[in-house]
């Protein structure tokens, strides 16, 4: 199997496995918090008194017509919504696995050796730092119903934080020289010195305790996701890449 196919196949396999597991974790971890926050979000749209009681909330959650995004299609609550969440999780996992497997291909290609699943998990940890930790410091995981700066500005900052952190970590851990390490550290700190876009004044009736719980749930789910993705992708990739004529020890 050539390199590209080995990367894609191992990513698809790892993506299905890890995406499915993470969907189950989210189902009990983050999704219930999102649904609860949506009750507050919808209550605010309804111009009800500040806090909805639970029964009102459940009724509101099912009347999607009142939602601000009502013009566009959205999956119905329950099975349909969960199915789309699972599909999106699998796709996201496949995409991120391709980044990891591509790195494994480059690393094992250069060294002529194989990436172990343990080394894969360390690369997973790097993915967690790049895609969750760094962007999350400036833009903490947010629940629905919490107002935030314009979407595009936050997306640009998010991508900037992820890119500079990836570059910075690469300079520090792959170059292993003092100047490169200093440059790497500056790169990692840079987006946080610039600062993430935020609103001057945020008013929400989503309780702070719920938001805090969500930050913890997202961070831990993501850490689990990246460890699993790193381990599984490297194990499957090493297997598919074993008979690659491009990497036979020379």
């Amino acid at each position: 199997m050539n390199t590209f196919r080995a990367i894609v196949f191992s990513s698809v396999i790892a993506g299905f496995v890890v995406g499915a597991i993470v969907t189950v974790i989210q189902h009990f971890g983050t999704v219930p918090l999102i649904l609860r926050a949506e009750l507050y979000e919808k209550a605010a749209h309804h111009d009800h008194a500040a806090t909805p009681d639970a029964r009102d909330g459940v009724a509101a959650a099912h009347s999607h017509e009142d939602h601000e995004h009502a013009e566009a299609w959205e999956p119905g609550d329950g099975f349909e919504r969960n199915a789309y969440t699972a599909a999106a999780n699998v796709l996201t996992a496949i995409g991120f696995a391709m980044l990891l497997a591509a790195i494994f291909a480059m690393r094992s290609g250069n060294a002529g050796g194989r990436i172990s699943w343990h080394e894969g998990m360390i690369w997973g940890l790097a993915g967690f730092a790049v895609f969750t930790l760094a962007p999350g410091l400036g833009l903490p995981p947010e629940l629905p119903g919490v107002p935030a700066a314009p979407l595009l500005s936050r997306q640009i900052w998010w991508v900037l934080a992820a890119a500079t952190t990836a570059g910075g970590l690469g300079l520090i851990f792959l170059r292993r020289s003092l100047p490169a390490s200093i440059a790497g550290l500056i790169l990692i700190v840079l987006p946080h010195v610039i600062g993430a876009p935020e609103l001057d004044h945020v008013e929400t009736n989503v309780p702070a305790a719920l938001s805090h719980q969500f930050v913890v749930a997202v961070t831990m789910t993501s850490l689990t996701f990246w460890f699993m993705l790193g381990g599984v992708t490297s194990a499957v990739f090493a297997r598919l890449d074993r008979d690659n004529p491009e990497t036979l020890p020379g």
């Binding site: 050539n2 390199t3 590209f4 990367i7 894609v8 990513s11 989210q26 983050t30 999704v31 999102i34 995004h69 013009e71 566009a72 299609w73 959205e74 999956p75 919504r81 789309y84 969440t85 999106a88 999780n89 796709l91 996201t92 496949i94 995409g95 991120f96 696995a97 391709m98 980044l99 497997a101 591509a102 790195i103 291909a105 480059m106 290609g109 895609f131 969750t132 962007p135 999350g136 833009l139 903490p140 995981p141 947010e142 629940l143 629905p144 935030a148 979407l151 595009l152 936050r154 997306q155 998010w158 997202v218 789910t221 993501s222 004529p245 491009e246 990497t247 036979l248 020890p249 020379g250």
Partner: protein
Amino acid sequence: MAHTEATHLPVTASRVSRLPQSLMAMMLGLFIVGFVGFSHIDVVHNAAHDVRHSNAFPCH
């Protein structure tokens, strides 16, 4: 297993192609993540809504 001289040459030649293939796969992976997590298309946003929030991708 012993490797003969003959197997060495093509290996060295094709190892060069490993980098572009890896970079291509990387672009594809970034495209998939970008489409699922960063799309401004309402329907895509709504379908992946809970995943965007759960992954701390910017949403709404």
